[in-house]
C-alpha cells in the first residue's frame, strides 16, 4: 500500500501515466478534506447503487396496485409505508432512482456536447460566428427554464423522454457561455500557437487542446446544475407533464400524493425527501469538485 502511495507522491513522475495518477490522487486528497463534498459523493454513490441494484433491494416492481394494502403507515413491513394504490413507497423510490439517473444522464449527454461545441467554436473562431452563436445562446438564456420546458412539453406531448428533451434544450446555454469564456483565454496561448505552427488543423486543435481545457469548469457547473435538473424534472412530473403513471418518478409521486399530506404524510413526504437529499448530494459534490478542479480557487 505504502509503495503505491510513494509512487503516487514521488517528486518527479517518470511517465505520463504516473503524472496523471498523481494529479488525480492529489485532487482526491484535497477533496477528502471537505466533509460536505465526501457526503455528497456518498449520496450520489448511494443513488447509483440503488439504481443498479433496484431488483435486489426492492421487494416488488413498485407499479402493481395492491388495493388491500393501501395507505399503510411506515413500519417493519413497509419501511416508507404504502401509497394510495397500496404500492410500497420504498420500492417506488428505489425504482425511481433509475428514472432520476436516466434524466440527469440523458440531459448530460445532450447538454454537454451541444454547449461545449457552441461555446468552444464561438470563443476560438470569434468574429461574426461568435456573435451569431452567442446571440442564439442569449435567447435561450433569457427564457425561464421551467416555462420554456412547459412550452416544449405542451408541443411534444407529455412523457419522460419529451421532458428530458425539453430540459436539455433549455439547459445547454450556460455551458456555451462557460466554454466560450475559457476558449477566449486559450486561443492566443503559446501551446495553441505552437500546435498551429506545426500545421495541426483547426478542428483538431479545438477537439484535442481547447475542449479538454474547458472540461473542468463544465463538469463543476454540471454537478451544480444536477439539482436544478432534478427539480425541473420533478416540477414537470408534478404538473403531470413528465413521467406518466405508474412510473415511479419522484415529482409525479408527490403530485399524486399531495391529497394525503395531512393524514398519510408519508405518501408525499418520502419522495420529497428523496428529491431533497439527492439534490443536496449533487450540490455538495459540485462544491467539492469546484474546490479541486478550479485553478483559480486553489490556494
Amino acid at each position: 500500500m505504502s509503495a503505491v502511495r510513494a509512487w503516487l507522491l514521488v517528486d518527479v513522475p517518470r511517465s505520463r501515466w504516473q503524472a496523471r495518477c498523481q494529479r488525480f490522487f492529489l485532487g482526491w486528497l484535497a477533496f477528502r478534506q471537505n466533509a460536505g463534498a465526501v457526503a455528497g459523493l456518498a449520496i450520489v454513490a448511494a443513488l447509483v447503487a440503488a439504481a443498479l441494484l433496484a431488483p435486489w433491494i426492492s421487494g416488488s416492481t413498485g407499479v402493481v396496485p395492491d388495493l388491500g394494502n393501501r395507505l399503510q403507515p411506515p413500519g417493519a413491513a413497509f419501511w416508507f409505508g404504502t401509497d394510495e394504490l397500496g404500492r410500497d413507497i420504498f420500492d417506488r423510490i428505489v425504482w425511481g432512482s433509475r428514472i432520476t439517473l436516466y434524466i440527469v444522464g440523458l440531459v448530460t449527454v445532450i447538454v454537454v456536447p451541444i454547449g461545449l461545441a457552441v461555446g468552444v467554436v464561438a470563443g476560438y473562431v470569434g468574429g461574426w460566428l461568435d456573435s451569431a452563436l452567442m446571440r442564439l445562446t442569449d435567447i435561450f438564456l433569457a427564457f425561464p427554464r421551467l416555462i420554456l420546458a412547459l412550452a416544449f412539453v405542451a408541443a411534444l406531448g407529455p412523457g419522460l423522454e419529451n421532458a428530458v428533451l425539453a430540459i436539455a434544450l433549455t439547459a445547454w446555454s450556460p455551458y456555451a457561455r462557460i466554454a466560450r469564456a475559457e476558449a477566449l483565454t486559450l486561443r492566443h496561448s503559446d501551446f495553441i500557437l505552437a500546435a498551429r505552427s506545426q500545421g495541426i488543423p483547426h478542428h483538431r486543435v479545438l477537439a484535442g487542446h481547447v475542449a479538454p481545457m474547458c472540461m473542468s469548469s463544465v463538469i463543476v457547473r454540471l454537478t451544480l446544475d444536477m439539482a436544478g435538473i432534478i427539480l425541473t424534472a420533478a416540477g414537470l412530473g408534478f404538473l403531470g407533464l413528465g413521467a406518466q403513471p405508474p412510473t415511479p418518478e419522484w415529482g409525479a409521486m408527490i403530485a399524486l400524493g399531495r391529497d394525503y399530506l395531512l393524514d398519510q404524510w408519508w405518501v408525499p413526504a418520502f419522495p420529497g425527501l428523496a428529491i431533497l437529499v439527492v439534490s443536496l448530494g449533487f450540490n455538495l459534490l459540485g462544491d467539492g469538485l469546484r474546490d479541486v478542479l478550479d485553478p483559480k480557487s486553489r490556494s
Binding site: 394510495e84 436544478g228 403531470g240 395531512l262
Partner: protein, 529 residues
C-alpha cells in the same frame, strides 16, 4: 447550494401561507363554502355549461320549470304556475305566476320568458342544443314562441317529442328567465346583453350575484323578496380553494362552513370529528371507459367486451373511491326515472383472456388517455394493472381538460377514461350522447355526441333512440330506455363503471344545503346556521 435553499424556502412559504392565513369564523348570516371554482368562465345562463357556474345560475335565476329543493326529484313549475299541452303534444301554453319580480324590481312577464328562450337560440352557445332540438332556430323561433296575453306564453315544437322530454329540457339552465328590460339596457353591438351577463345577473331567483372575481371568490346576495320567502343567509360566499388539503384545514378551523371537494380518504379521517358532519348525495355524473371504434383492434366488439371483464369495479369502489363513487354500468344514472341498475360485469380475468383468444388476437399495446385530477390517475392505474393480467399492455397519458377534450372531440384517442353528466333530467339527454350517432363520417363533426367521438354507430340503436324520445306513454318509454341501456352494455363502445356520489363536509350546525341528482340542482336558499 443556493438553488436548493431557495427552493426549500419557497416551499416552506407556500405551506406556511396555507396554514397561517388566519381568518375569523363567518358571521351567523353568511354562508361560506370552500370549493374549486376555477371552472367558471361565464355566468350568462345562455352559455353556462360548467359545473360551478351551473350551480350559481340555479340559485340566481328561476327557470320556466324547476326542481325545487323541497322536492329535488320532482319537476314543478318555476316561473310557470302551470301548463297545458295540446293533444298532438306539439304546443304547450304556460301560465306565468302572478306578482313575481326580478331583483331589479321589474315584474316577470311572458315577454321576459319569450326573450330568454329566443336569446338562447339566437346566441347559439354550447348548451343551446337543449332547446334547438325542439326544431327551433334563429329564423323560426320568434314564430314558435308567442306571448298570448299578459299572463300566458305559447311554445310550439316542430319535432314530435315526448312532452316529458320538453318539460325536462325547459328545466335546464338555458330556461332561466332573465330580466328583458335590464339585459337590453346593457346590450352592445346586438349581443343581447351577452357580454354584460357574463359577469352580472338579471334574474328573479333566491339570490343575486354580488361579485365574481375569477379564481378568487363568488359572492351571492340574498333576494329578500323571493317568491318562496327570503333565504336565511344574507350572503353566500364561494371561496376558491383548489387544494383539498387546504379546504380541509379551513373547515377544521371553522373558517368556512362547508368544504365541497374533499377526497374519500380525507373524509374518512374527518368522520370522527365532533363539530363536522358528512352528507352524501347521489349525482348524475357517470365515469366510463370509452374505446375508439376507429382503432384497428378496439373496433372489434369482442375486445371491448374483454375490457369490461378486465376492470376491478368492486375493488376500486371499495378502496380509493369509497363513498364517492358507486358501481354503475348503464348510461342513465340510478335513482332517476328510467334508471337501469343491472351490473352484469365484474372482474373476471379468465373470461377476458378467453374472449381475446376467441377473437384470435395477439397481445397488443394501447394508450389510455385521462385527466390529471383525482380519481382519474388512480382509476387508470388500476385498469392498467388488470388489463395487464388479461394480456393487454397499456400506457397512461394524463392531460388537463384543455388538452384532453380537443383530442377526444377529434377522435384521436384510443382508450379514454372520462366523466359525463346529463345536461337535463330526461334519459334522452344521455341516450342522445351515448347511443345515437346519426352521421358517423369524420367530417360530420358531431363533437357533442360520445358515440360519434368513439366512431361507433348502429342504425338500429339510432332508430330505437328516436322511438323512445317520441313515445308519449310513460311506462312504454321507460321500458324502451331500459332496453337501450341493456343493449349498450354489450354493443356500445363503452365500459361504464361508476356513478358519482357527492360528499360534502359541513360544520355540524350548518343545515339545509340541498344537492340534487343533476350537477346544477344545488340550492343554497334553505341553508341555516
Amino acid at each position: 447550494m443556493g438553488r436548493v435553499v431557495r427552493s426549500v424556502a419557497a416551499m416552506g412559504c407556500v405551506v406556511a401561507l396555507g396554514l397561517v392565513r388566519a381568518a375569523a369564523a363567518p358571521p351567523d348570516d353568511i354562508f361560506v363554502m370552500a370549493k374549486d371554482v376555477g371552472d367558471v368562465i361565464t355566468l350568462d345562463p345562455a352559455e353556462v355549461f360548467e359545473f360551478t357556474a351551473g350551480e350559481i345560475v340555479a340559485n340566481v335565476y328561476d327557470r320556466l320549470m324547476m326542481f325545487e329543493p323541497e322536492h329535488p326529484g320532482q319537476i314543478a313549475g318555476g316561473v310557470a304556475e302551470n301548463y297545458a299541452i295540446s293533444d298532438d303534444g306539439r304546443t304547450i301554453v304556460f301560465r306565468i305566476r302572478d306578482g313575481l319580480r326580478f331583483h331589479s324590481g321589474n315584474p316577470v312577464r311572458p315577454e321576459d320568458v319569450e326573450f330568454s328562450l329566443e336569446r338562447v337560440v339566437k346566441l347559439n352557445r354550447t348548451p343551446a342544443f337543449i332547446v334547438t332540438q325542439f326544431g327551433w332556430n334563429a329564423g323560426n323561433v320568434e314564430d314558435l314562441i308567442q306571448v298570448v296575453d299578459a299572463r300566458h306564453l305559447r311554445i310550439e315544437v316542430t319535432e314530435g317529442l315526448s312532452p316529458g322530454l320538453i318539460l325536462n329540457a325547459l328545466s335546464a339552465g338555458v330556461a332561466s328567465v332573465v330580466d328583458r328590460e335590464l339585459v337590453l339596457a346593457h346590450a352592445a353591438d346586438g349581443d343581447l346583453g351577452h357580454a354584460w351577463l357574463k359577469t352580472h345577473s338579471a334574474g328573479s331567483g333566491a339570490f343575486r350575484l354580488g361579485r365574481w372575481k375569477a379564481n378568487e371568490y363568488i359572492a351571492l346576495e340574498a333576494n329578500p323578496h323571493y317568491r318562496r320567502g327570503a333565504p336565511a343567509m344574507r350572503r353566500v360566499f364561494l371561496r376558491h380553494v383548489p387544494e383539498p388539503s387546504a379546504q380541509r384545514l379551513l373547515l377544521e378551523r371553522g373558517d368556512v362552513d362547508m368544504a365541497r371537494n374533499l377526497t374519500p380518504d380525507q373524509i374518512g379521517a374527518l368522520a370522527e370529528h365532533a363539530d363536522l358532519a358528512v352528507d352524501s348525495y347521489p349525482k348524475g355524473a357517470i365515469v366510463y371507459l370509452a374505446a375508439n371504434a376507429g382503432h384497428p383492434v378496439l373496433g372489434n366488439s369482442a375486445v371491448v367486451q374483454a375490457l369490461r371483464y378486465a376492470i376491478d369495479y368492486r375493488g376500486m369502489a371499495d378502496s380509493f373511491l369509497a363513498g364517492q363513487f358507486a358501481v354503475h354500468q348503464a348510461f342513465w344514472p340510478a335513482g332517476l326515472w328510467a334508471g337501469y341498475t343491472a351490473t352484469p360485469y365484474e372482474l373476471d380475468i379468465e373470461k377476458a383472456r378467453s374472449l381475446l383468444e376467441d377473437a384470435g388476437l395477439e397481445p397488443f399495446d394501447v394508450r389510455i388517455d385521462t385527466l390529471t385530477s383525482s380519481p382519474f390517475p388512480q382509476i387508470a392505474q388500476s385498469l392498467q394493472a388488470t388489463f395487464a393480467q388479461a394480456g393487454i399492455r397499456s400506457r397512461i397519458v394524463m392531460q388537463d381538460g384543455r388538452t384532453l377534450w380537443p383530442r377526444y372531440r377529434a377522435r384521436k384517442h384510443e382508450l379514454i377514461i372520462a366523466r359525463w353528466s346529463p345536461d337535463y333530467m330526461d334519459p334522452h339527454a344521455n341516450a342522445d350522447a351515448f347511443a345515437r350517432n346519426p352521421d358517423n363520417r369524420p367530417e360530420a363533426g358531431l363533437a357533442g355526441v360520445l358515440a360519434w367521438r368513439n366512431a361507433w354507430a348502429s342504425e338500429d340503436i339510432n332508430a330505437k333512440t328516436i322511438e323512445a324520445r317520441d313515445t308519449r306513454d310513460l311506462a312504454a318509454r321507460e321500458r324502451m330506455y331500459q332496453e337501450l341501456q341493456r343493449r349498450l352494455q354489450t354493443e356500445g363502445p363503452y365500459a361504464i363503471m361508476f356513478q358519482q356520489i357527492d360528499q360534502i363536509v359541513r360544520r355540524r350546525h350548518v343545515e339545509g344545503f340541498v344537492s340534487g341528482v343533476n350537477f346544477d340542482h344545488v340550492y343554497y336558499r334553505m341553508v341555516t346556521k
